[in-house]
């Protein structure tokens, strides 16, 4: 009565035919039949979003869908990101998570990347609220989300920069988001500054003053010893943000 049936899944551009029981979840087909274990199972209840994949371009939770229901669908998992047209070695989103320290344990990251990808496909220049809404179905227990938001902003900027370099602005505002001074509001809560450990790219680090002004940070770092650069950044944060953060 539970005969297996043959389904076709196009995952990351490659067509696969697999035999599945009707009760087999899409996430199990992806992980166990196709051996693509980048898609994680976190909560097993549909809450955490670690199993998020794109089905025909839309983010869905692959633990809340049977594999048979995805017969004929196009699925994108984290393993496919580096082969996307906008990827250059790795995808700008992955680069963003690396540059902005968007992960600690990394368990939620594949799901975060998929939600981020769906967002940027829809809205190449999202504001912070839009980003937070887009990842609201993905739980992270490490980062407090601040750096994940910055990682996605980084990717949006990177994509806008490339589009501009290709000779055309793609964003509605003419690509203004690509400029360091125009694209980003300071974080609403500057809590990272209070716990900053003194190391670049850690604990919110020097990027707190303007997390996206990497040129300035590099200049600082080259201009003296690291501690001095950090001190000046920290002072700037004191003046601007710290009062709001307590």
């Amino acid at each position: 009565m539970t005969d297996e049936r043959e389904i076709t899944l196009t995952v990351n551009g490659t067509e696969h035919t697999v035999e599945v029981e009707p009760r087999r979840l899409l996430v199990h087909a992806i992980r166990e039949d196709l051996d693509l274990t980048g898609t994680h199972i976190g909560c097993d209840t549909g809450n955490c979003g670690a199993c998020t994949v794109l089905k025909d371009g839309e983010p869905i939770k692959s633990c809340l869908m049977f594999a048979a229901q995805a017969d004929g669908a196009e699925i994108l998992t984290v393993e496919g990101m580096e082969d996307l047209p906008e990827a250059d070695g790795i995808h700008p989103l992955q680069e963003g998570f690396r540059e902005e320290h968007g992960l600690q344990c990394g368990y939620c990251t594949p799901g975060m990347l998929m939600s981020g990808k769906a967002l940027l496909d829809e809205d190449p220049d999202p504001d912070e609220e839009t980003i937070r809404d887009a990842i609201s179905g993905n739980l992270c227990r490490c980062t407090g989300y601040q750096n994940i938001v910055r990682s996605i902003e980084y990717a949006a900027d990177e994509l806008a920069d490339r589009a501009a370099a290709d000779g055309g602005a793609v964003t509605a505002d003419g690509g203004a988001s690509a400029s360091p001074e125009g694209g980003h509001e300071p974080p609403a809560v500057g809590g990272d500054a209070d716990t900053f450990c003194g190391r670049e790219d850690c604990c919110g680090g020097p990027s707190e003053a303007d997390p996206f002004d990497r040129e300035a940070l590099l200049d600082d770092a080259e201009g003296g010893n690291g501690d001095a650069a950090v001190d000046s950044t920290d002072t700037a944060v004191d003046a601007d943000d710290r009062g709001d953060s307590v």
Binding site: M1, R23, E58, L64, M65
Partner: protein
């Protein structure tokens, strides 16, 4: 955990689905699956037979037609949130859609499935009640329209027949003097409502409330109408005092239970607050006077 084994049927037409429902033994209908799939996996539901309606393309619609907003059984929450049809005229729908669960679940879960699930914490039941909407079902004997008020019986239990399929839910197209809103209190994205209130106000040409509908979420054993508050509103002109009185009556008529999210008294108070806020929005959207809120946001 895995679901127990089941037989999976995938009809592609409503007729085929209805004849499957008639011939199969105790089938369960699978639409968006965002509640049913976890229930199957935790073996809270153990059907031998699942009829998956996702292949019935004719049920994938959301449109204004024949004096109604018609939401087909495969319209997802995200479809409502993104639809051109849903604007200020359907304020309660526009409010509720982005508040359901989270983005991924809104991409799969359906409005009709949420109504059929009849979870008292579901949002759409209250919207339907506020608009005096209907649940349209097809069975072996043809089609029938069940008024929303007669649909919900108990938690997860409705007046739908075992061999019936809900093809759509629908609400009357609002008159130009009508406004609606939905307000929901929840701790975070993805949570069910601690309390929710859907409101519809229809005004006559003088700016008097001709008819009011109020549906409440998560504060009774089913989505429930606040009839005392509705009666208090009808025939009156909108004012902060009137809305405060209606809020109080809705709170009195609610029947919340204390749980980890809050005590019953607190939830009843929230019904009062949410009712007043939703009434304010509905009146504003109807294009009548702007009623200054007594309850601040």
């Amino acid at each position: 955990m895995k679901s127990a084994p089941f037989e999976h049927h995938e009809p592609t037409t409503v007729d085929e689905a209805v004849s499957l429902l008639e011939s199969l033994d105790d089938p369960t209908i699978l639409a968006g699956g965002q509640s049913l799939v976890p229930m199957l996996r935790f073996r809270l539901a153990n059907p031998d037979v699942v009829v998956d309606i996702n292949g019935i393309d004719s049920l994938d619609y959301l449109r204004e037609e024949d004096g109604h907003l018609r939401v087909g059984a495969l319209a997802r929450h995200a479809d409502v949130a993104e639809s051109d049809v849903i604007d200020e005229k359907y304020g309660s729908f526009a409010d509720a859609a982005p508040l359901v669960a989270d983005p991924q679940i809104r991409n799969r879960g359906t409005v009709v499935g949420s109504v059929a699930q009849a979870d008292p914490k579901g949002d759409w039941g209250s919207v339907l009640l506020a608009h005096e909407g209907e649940v349209v079902a097809r069975g072996p004997d043809g089609e029938r329209a069940i008024p929303a008020e007669e649909f919900f019986l108990l938690p997860y239990d409705t007046t739908l027949g075992e061999d019936e399929l809900i093809t759509e839910v629908r609400v009357p197209t609002p008159s130009p003097n009508e406004g609606s809103a939905y307000h929901k209190l929840k701790r975070k994205t993805g949570d069910y409502a601690m309390a929710g209130v859907g409101v519809r106000l229809t005004f006559d040409d003088d700016g008097t409330i001709e008819s009011a509908g109020i549906g409440m979420t998560a504060v009774d054993i089913t989505n429930a109408r606040a009839t005392d508050a509705e009666e208090r509103l009808e025939g009156e002109r909108p004012s902060p005092d009137l809305f405060a009185a209606a809020g109080e009556l809705a709170a009195e008529q609610s029947n919340p239970e204390s749980d980890e999210h809050g005590g019953a008294d607190y939830k009843a108070r929230m019904v009062d607050v949410l009712t007043q806020r939703a009434l304010g929005d509905a009146a504003e959207r109807a294009g009548t006077v702007t009623v200054k809120r007594r309850v601040t946001q």
